[in-house]
């Protein structure tokens, strides 16, 4: 019953033979070895598994790999180019917007989606957009600071 899907992952075209029930998270983690996205809650509330699919943040724990057929998927591993941090990553480093790091790839990808959609968000817009990502270490204030201070890509 496996099906073959084709998708773009971090700019590279990939095909995979998947079981219909395989999640997108398991596809990127187990099949493609991209483990930056984490399983946290398994019910799309914590945001640790966030990936960008066609530019929009989704919870990969609750999306079927089949539904990503033909899609453009970005994982945290695809964000920095040539070992140079993406401006969102730089801001997270500069403002200390993480502690244990388990939620970090989800926060960074959600932030990228926010800034792609609203280049200069208000603080309230930042709080609303990122309310679906949990940071249990409690780095929320630093995260807000980081998001406010992301340098635009030259």
């Amino acid at each position: 019953m496996n099906k073959t899907i084709s998708l773009t992952v971090n700019g590279v075209e990939r095909t995979a033979e998947v079981e219909p029930r395989l999640t997108l998270l398991d596809l990127v983690r187990e099949h493609f070895g991209l483990t930056g996205a984490k399983l946290g809650c398994d019910v799309q509330v914590c945001g640790a598994c966030t990936l960008l699919v066609n530019g929009k943040p989704i919870s990969a724990c609750s999306m079927l790999a089949l539904d990503a057929d033909g899609c453009d998927v970005l994982t945290i591993e695809g964000l920095s180019k040539h070992n140079k941090l993406h401006p969102v990553q730089e801001a997270f480093v500069e403002f200390g917007a993480l502690q244990c790091g388990y939620c970090t790839s989800g926060f960074i990808l959600t932030t990228k989606a926010l800034l792609d959609e609203i280049p200069h968000p208000s603080e309230q817009q930042i709080r609303d957009y990122l309310a679906g990502n949990f940071c249990r270490c409690g780095c929320y204030q630093e995260i807000i600071q980081a998001v406010k201070n992301v340098r635009s890509e030259a």
Binding site: T35, C41, C46, A48, L79, L85, L98, C100, N133, R136
Partner: protein
């Protein structure tokens, strides 16, 4: 390259690897030939296992091993009973299950799907037993017993030696503290206040669930990769269970995705090792979110507090009874109960005390360490009642705290001398941050001015004192390499607190080396020297000191090399900014290494140890190597029509001793406060007849960015403790503890409703406002 320093924010060493998704956590790792392990868990809070049928499970393709009680009871190589304080746990249930989610059997298979199918195929015939579902039931005479008897360990923790289970009852431990003369104390009091406070079980909810990979070689050598905060304790426990010397157990710890106390002591490691041993292959077990809720929780508590006070607000006597629901297994509950008892007087001088603190067995998932370790529970009562007293006596809540609060040199309830005590500075700073006015009228004025429609504003304060685990041990090794770079070997687990960076700062500061040239090695018990635990807010103080001593050991060796080489007395040689300065010349570290070894090579090894004991360096009794002091202040807005409230601002001040990395300190303070906000306003494990009904992050609510106040103000107060490295103390837990009472006190200030049961929810405020008990 900038030399390492302290008192200055340095970018954390783990940031690049974490923002790029490259940091490896346990569930990201696998081994060749590895099996996936899954656990069958009890559906009932209390039942006898009449029979277990695994015949279908072992026939499922891909299944390599099925583990049941037969394997642990009939294997001479396994000691079935374990536990950090009492040996009341088994790898899988032997005779009875004692809580919903108690492990019954486990399967290792080539795929996770096969393991899950095998688990589902195991048939268990249970005889359900009456369950003890709350503490009040558990302590009644004739209550159903959770354990018929409890095995004691051959050797246990020094600080818990006097605590034993009470035979024939569900009392796991009873800690008593008596001081002065309680009857006399109450006789001296003008007013007596009696209140009962409760708080529910909660869950740490680290985003990374517990996980373990275990490999057992045919010679019996055990290697585990573990999500643990105390690898050396896990090593000891595994050595005891599998009857091998500790040298035959190797525990490796990758970065943890949060710990908060929920990853101390063995969790999933014993069952993973048993599976790996039986399977003859490496096995990985990664718990689901639901399973985490069955593995460890924070103690629910009921606290009865009776306090005698003079009309001027002086506290004279307190009788306090604390019941902590420790669940089906003692875990570290006995120490939690002890710490709750020690702090039932709060950070206040009370001459007459009678404190009884109990850990009580029930048929619920085990409760153990949670950031705040028993003090969150006692402080909820202490600091709520402090405001009840202040209101009744019409004394300002800030003033009554300062009137009774500890100062430098005061005696703690154990009669030991308190040193480096920044309590009142913490109180003053949070009060200032939220615009607290002590004349009483100004607060009322603010309330009136800000009353728009149904909204009422109020402010509240709370403070606390906490101890660190004592006695304890931390050892460190520092290696100076031939290029004057440094490698640090410590057992401190990096779980988000920034320990790698602060330890590197300490070593770098001592030797004058830039952070870029320092590597802090990951934890591997085969490689790093012993450390008791990464918990109890102890690492900066203890491991920081051990690293400092190790760096100084290197300094002494370098001084001796220079002295010999240049024929200069050692006392004429000084060491600053990475240079060894002699009367005539100076050398950098690489040059000295070359002098020592005559070529570009060689290693100098520095060693440092810190061992705290029940006597401090002043020769006095010591139950804590240093003291944590903190205060918090909240401003809230309550809607009197609905009871809904908003936290507008929260200020947290912690006496950090010395802020070695100021941003790191502020992160710890704000982070702990945010966990405290969750505990105060949302978090609660719910049971229905012994069934845990919200073991997921939809129904168990964590604080998100949407719940945050406009401002959280983390304030570092610095009253240096000369015993810590550069005067630093530990800070991991302090800021969490005052949050719940500060918010409850602010709500009372706003609308006159006293909430005595956590979490503080809108409906409780509404019911209070509308006269419903």
């Amino acid at each position: 390259m900038e030399l390492a320093d302290i008192g200055k924010t340095f970018r954390r060493l783990d940031y690049e690897t974490k923002v790029t998704g490259r940091a490896q956590y346990l569930a990201d790792m696998s081994l060749p030939g590895m099996c996936h392990g899954k656990i069958l868990r009890s559906l009932y809070p209390h039942a006898r296992i009449k029979s277990l049928d695994t015949s279908r499970a072992s026939k499922i393709p891909g299944v390599v091993a099925v583990l049941t009680r037969d394997d642990i009871l009939h294997d001479q190589g396994i000691e079935p009973y374990y536990g950090p304080v009492f040996k009341d746990q088994t790898i899988v249930a032997t005779e009875k299950v004692r809580h919903m989610g108690d492990p019954v059997a486990a399967v290792a298979a080539l795929t996770a799907d096969a393991a899950e199918a095998a688990i589902a195929s195991i048939e268990v015939d249970y005889e359900q037993l009456p369950a003890v579902l709350d503490v009040q039931e558990a302590i009644k005479p004739g209550a159903m017993l959770v354990h018929d008897s409890v095995k004691l360990p051959e050797s246990g923790f020094a600080d818990l030696a006097e605590l034993k289970p009470v035979e024939g009852t569900n009392l796991c431990t009873h800690f008593k503290l008596n001081r002065g003369n309680i009857e006399k104390g109450f006789a001296e009091a003008d007013r007596i206040f009696e209140d009962t406070f409760t708080l529910p079980a909660t869950q740490h909810s680290f985003l990374e669930t517990h996980a373990c990979i275990a490999a057992v070689d045919p010679g019996g050598r055990i290697t585990v990769w573990a999500t643990t905060q105390n690898p050396f304790v896990v090593r000891t426990q595994l050595a005891n269970i599998f009857k091998v010397p500790v040298s035959k157990v190797r525990v490796i710890v990758p970065y943890l995705g949060g710990g908060y106390g929920g990853k101390v002591y063995p969790k999933v490691e014993p069952i993973t090792v048993a599976l790996a041993q039986k399977a003859g292959r490496p096995v990985r077990v990664v718990l689901s979110r639901e399973e985490v809720f069955y593995t460890i929780t924070k103690h629910a508590a009921m606290i009865r507090m009776k306090t005698g006070v003079k009309n001027d607000g002086t506290l004279v006597a307190r009788e306090c009874e604390i019941h902590l629901d420790t669940g089906a297994y003692a875990e570290i509950g006995p120490r939690v109960a002890k710490k709750s008892g020690y702090t039932a007087a709060g950070p206040y001088k009370i001459p007459h005390l009678k404190i009884d603190s109990y850990s009580v067995y029930t048929n619920k998932p085990p409760a153990g360490a949670f950031r705040g370790f028993g003090v969150s529970q006692s402080a909820w009562a202490v600091e709520s009642q402090m405001d009840i007293i202040a209101a009744a006596l019409q004394i300002d809540p800030l003033e009554i705290r300062k009137k009774n609060g500890y100062d430098e040199g005061d005696k703690f309830v154990t009669e030991e001398t308190l040193r480096a005590i920044g309590l009142k500075e913490c109180l003053n700073r949070v009060a200032e941050s939220i615009g607290w006015k002590s004349d009483g009228t100004s607060n009322a004025k603010i309330r009136k001015d800000s009353s728009i429609g149904s909204a009422r504003r109020g402010k509240g304060l709370a403070c606390m004192i906490k101890a660190t685990i004592t006695p304890s041990i931390s050892c460190a090794v520092v290696k100076l390499n031939e290029d004057a770079s440094l490698s640090l070997y410590t057992g401190t687990v990096e779980m988000g607190q920034g320990s790698e960076t602060v330890l590197a700062q300490i070593a770098g500061k001592e030797l004058g080396i830039p952070l870029e040239k320092i590597q802090v090695l990951g934890v591997d018990t085969d490689v790093v020297p012993y450390d008791l635990t990464t918990s109890s807010s102890r690492s900066t103080f203890h491991m920081g000191k051990a690293v400092q001593l190790a760096a100084r050991h290197i300094q002494r060796q370098l001084t001796a090399i220079a002295a010999a080489e240049y024929n200069v007395p050692e006392e004429k040689i000084t060491f600053t900014d990475g240079k060894v300065r002699l009367p005539e010349t100076q050398l950098d570290l690489a040059e000295l290494m070359f002098k020592r070894f005559g070529m570009r090579g060689g290693t100098l090894v520095g060693e440092g140890q810190i061992k705290t004991s029940t006597k401090d360096e002043y020769g006095e009794k010591s139950t804590s190597a240093f003291w944590f002091l903190a205060a918090g202040a909240a401003e809230v807005e309550v809607d009197v029509d609905t009871g809904k409230f908003k936290l507008l601002k929260y200020a947290t001040a912690v006496d950090v001793g010395k802020a070695l990395n100021p941003l790191g300190c502020r992160q710890q303070l704000a982070g702990a406060a945010i966990t405290g906000i969750g505990q105060a306003m949302f978090e609660e494990i719910a049971y229905d007849n012994g069934q845990l009904i919200n073991p997921n992050l939809v129904d168990y609510i964590l604080p998100s960015l949407g719940d945050m106040p406009a401002t959280i103000d983390p304030i570092c107060v610095e009253v240096p403790d000369p015993r810590g490295p550069f005067g630093a103390k530990g800070i991991g837990e302090s800021a969490l503890i005052p949050v719940a009472p500060a918010i409850a006190n602010a709500i009372y200030d706003a609308v006159g409703i006293r909430i005595k049961d956590l979490p503080i929810k809108a409906e409780k405020v509404y019911l209070g406002l509308h006269g419903v008990e």
